[in-house]
């Protein structure tokens, strides 16, 4: 069991009577890379600022290393922050920026020189010590901000959308570097982002937030494959949402249901009652798609569609290089997005607009949720 570093218990935060955060309970373990993921205005930055000490909880408890942080100012917390726009000190050189934390702690100049040299080496900025922030590129400024925040060896590093100002390629590269840095240092990282790719690529666990509340906490895989509600499902990647109703239960986790008007078998560990409305969620890449006439000809293929076989017509094809998307209109008029990988044996697309097709899924890959109205 790893040690808990940051612990929030039923934390709430109001701004001028407006609730910004509600009912936040969260534990962050030592050495973990945690992401706070959500749309803008969901409270993820406020949560980060609470941990950093720039805001105070309206109610609830915040502990860092077991110690209550109520009324403890930022300068007294073993936590450092990489700010969204880096917030480098414009009147200081790179060296002075990085040395700032140690100077405030009144360390000897020899010790400072050693630590700053090491820190700049770590973020590959050696040789730029005497530059001003204004004379650095965005990526370099980012590295200075990271080196500066790590110089005091914090227990937790907070990162507020640190990569949002960088272009796509540089962002990918910095994602890798940040992850490597975190592994090498063993420091807990808490990252705020609205980019699910970024959160998934770097984090051990992801906290999905909406409107000041935590919707789901889990590993990227859990979040992606078992979203607890429609918001989470929609926010992390593309998803098809089908409507259905339970007909009967047959066994512990097996249901007979009508989905988009077609009788199917569903698997879910949740409890549903006969007659209950539900959603069936399918990732585009989890949908099984075949030509109707191929299924009619092949017994093994039709066996694969035994539990669910939704008829439809191919509408459009979108080519993406390694994959292609197929837009299918079900017979009841609803649209479904399917992602297909290229067949290794043939260079041609397997589907054309107008094809009569059937939709199905691998047993147990569907996510079944109660209907949200």
């Amino acid at each position: 069991m790893k040690k808990t570093v940051v612990e929030l218990i039923e934390v709430a935060k109001d701004f001028d009577g407006q609730r910004a955060l509600a009912d936040i309970s969260l534990t962050v373990t030592d050495g973990e890379f945690l992401s706070l993921l959500g749309p803008s205005g969901c409270g993820k930055t406020t949560l980060l600022r609470l941990i950093g000490g720039f805001e105070h909880c309206t109610s609830g408890l915040l502990r860092i290393d077991g110690q209550d942080m109520d009324r403890i100012p930022p300068e007294k917390r073993a936590v450092n922050t990489v700010f969204q726009n880096y917030a480098l000190f414009p009147h200081m050189t790179v060296y002075d920026n990085v040395a700032f934390g140690l100077r405030m702690a009144k360390r000897s100049s020899r010790e400072i020189r050693l630590a700053v040299t090491q820190a700049l080496d770590m973020v590959q900025l050696s040789g730029l010590e005497q530059r001003r922030p204004a004379a650095l590129s965005g990526g370099q400024q980012q590295r200075v901000a990271i080196a500066r925040a790590l110089i005091n060896k914090p227990r937790v590093l907070l990162l507020d959308e640190p990569l949002s100002a960088l272009d796509h390629r540089l962002r990918k590269q910095m994602q890798k570097e940040l992850k490597q840095l975190q592994r090498a240092l063993g420091i807990t990282f808490i990252l705020v982002t609205h980019d699910q790719d970024e959160a998934f690529a770097m984090s051990d666990r992801v906290v999905v937030m909406q409107a000041g509340r935590i919707e789901q906490i889990g590993t990227p895989m859990e979040i992606y494959e078992n979203p607890v509600n429609l918001f989470v499902a929609r926010f992390v990647g593309d998803i098809n949402i089908l409507d259905g109703v339970v007909v009967s239960r047959s066994g512990a986790d097996t249901y007979h249901a009508l989905v988009e008007g077609v009788a199917v078998t569903l698997h879910s560990r949740r409890d549903f009652l006969p007659g209950q409305q539900l959603h069936v969620l399918l990732r585009p890449e989890d949908v099984r798609l075949e030509q109707e006439r191929d299924i009619a000809e092949s017994r093994s293929l039709s066996a694969k569609f035994a539990q669910a076989r939704l008829p439809g017509t191919v509408q459009r094809i979108f080519y993406h290089g390694a994959t292609y998307d197929v837009e299918v209109m079900l017979d009841n008029g609803n649209q479904v997005q399917v992602t297909e990988f290229f067949d290794e044996d043939s260079a041609n697309l397997s589907f054309r607009p107008g094809d009569q097709v059937a939709l199905g899924w691998l047993q147990g890959w569907e996510v079944v949720l109660p209907h949200e109205g």
């Binding site: 000490g53 930022p74 450092n80 700010f83 700032f100 934390g101």
Partner: protein, 255 residues
């Protein structure tokens, strides 16, 4: 053609702005006591100015008042601006509004109300009352100048400094002050000139024992413009230009 037009336009503006100063400078070297016609070059008036102890004392008094009022007003105004920028407290907007009211109020109103206050307290009019009055005059200008500078740099920078372990004093000393330095310097200069050429507030709030330059000149000019006043004006212009160049150099080296 258009180049001549542009040049001529610029020249006419400079002429409009600086012709009065040129006239004063020319007459300060004119070898005639009353005439406005040119009677030949002389440095007599400068020599006389140097020996006019009354005028020189008033000048020194003015410089002392201007320098001390500017320094104290800059100190108070900068702190006020920092507080207004950094903290949210009851009465913050009121304080902010008060500064604007003070800047807009006619000097005569400030002068009379200060005079009444000093008499009611009671304080003897003289150096101290004049200093207080000039500080009152200057603080709003410094506060607003410095405040607008604070608003231009990111608040994140202050958060970052605190995050890295800086106490409130250290934040002020290492981050806020260096970043606001140009505005603080500008505030000081502004206060200095405000104090130096103020007539109305000085007129009501100083005593007979402490005479400042504008009042002295004012009383002299009532008996006709004397060339040593011209000389004094030129000396002050030179002084101002030197001060300006010095601040330019100082601010440049900071960059």
């Amino acid at each position: 053609m258009s180049r001549w037009l542009k040049g001529g336009y610029a020249a006419s503006i400079f002429l409009f702005l600086y012709l009065p100063l040129v006239v004063v400078a020319v007459f300060s070297f004119n070898d005639s006591r009353f005439s406005l016609a040119w009677h030949g070059f002389t440095l007599d008036w400068y020599v006389r100015l140097w020996h006019n102890t009354g005028l020189m004392t008033a000048a020194v008094n003015s410089l002392i008042i201007a320098a001390s009022a500017a320094t104290l007003a800059t100190f108070l105004g900068t702190i006020a601006a920092f507080v207004l920028h950094q903290y949210r407290f009851a009465g913050r907007r009121l304080l902010f509004g008060t500064f604007f009211v003070m800047m807009m109020s006619p000097d005569i109103v400030i002068a009379i109300s200060l005079l009444l206050l000093f008499l009611a307290l009671p304080l003897n009019l003289g150096f101290h009352t004049l200093l207080l009055a000039h500080i009152v005059l200057c603080v709003p200008f410094v506060a607003i100048t410095v405040f607008s500078r604070f608003h231009r740099f990111q608040h994140d920078v202050i958060d970052a400094a605190r995050d890295l372990g800086a106490s409130e004093y250290q934040v002020f000393r290492h981050i806020v002050l260096p970043l606001a330095a140009p505005a603080v310097a500008a505030g000081w200069l502004l206060s200095f000139t405000l104090s130096l050429d103020d007539v109305i507030i000085s007129f009501f709030n100083t005593g007979p024992g402490f005479e400042v330059l504008p009042l002295r000149i004012y009383s002299m000019v009532r008996l006709g413009i004397r060339p040593d006043v011209n000389a004094l004006c030129v000396a002050m212009i030179v002084f101002t230009i030197i001060a300006l160049i010095l601040t330019k150099i100082l601010l440049k080296e900071k960059k």
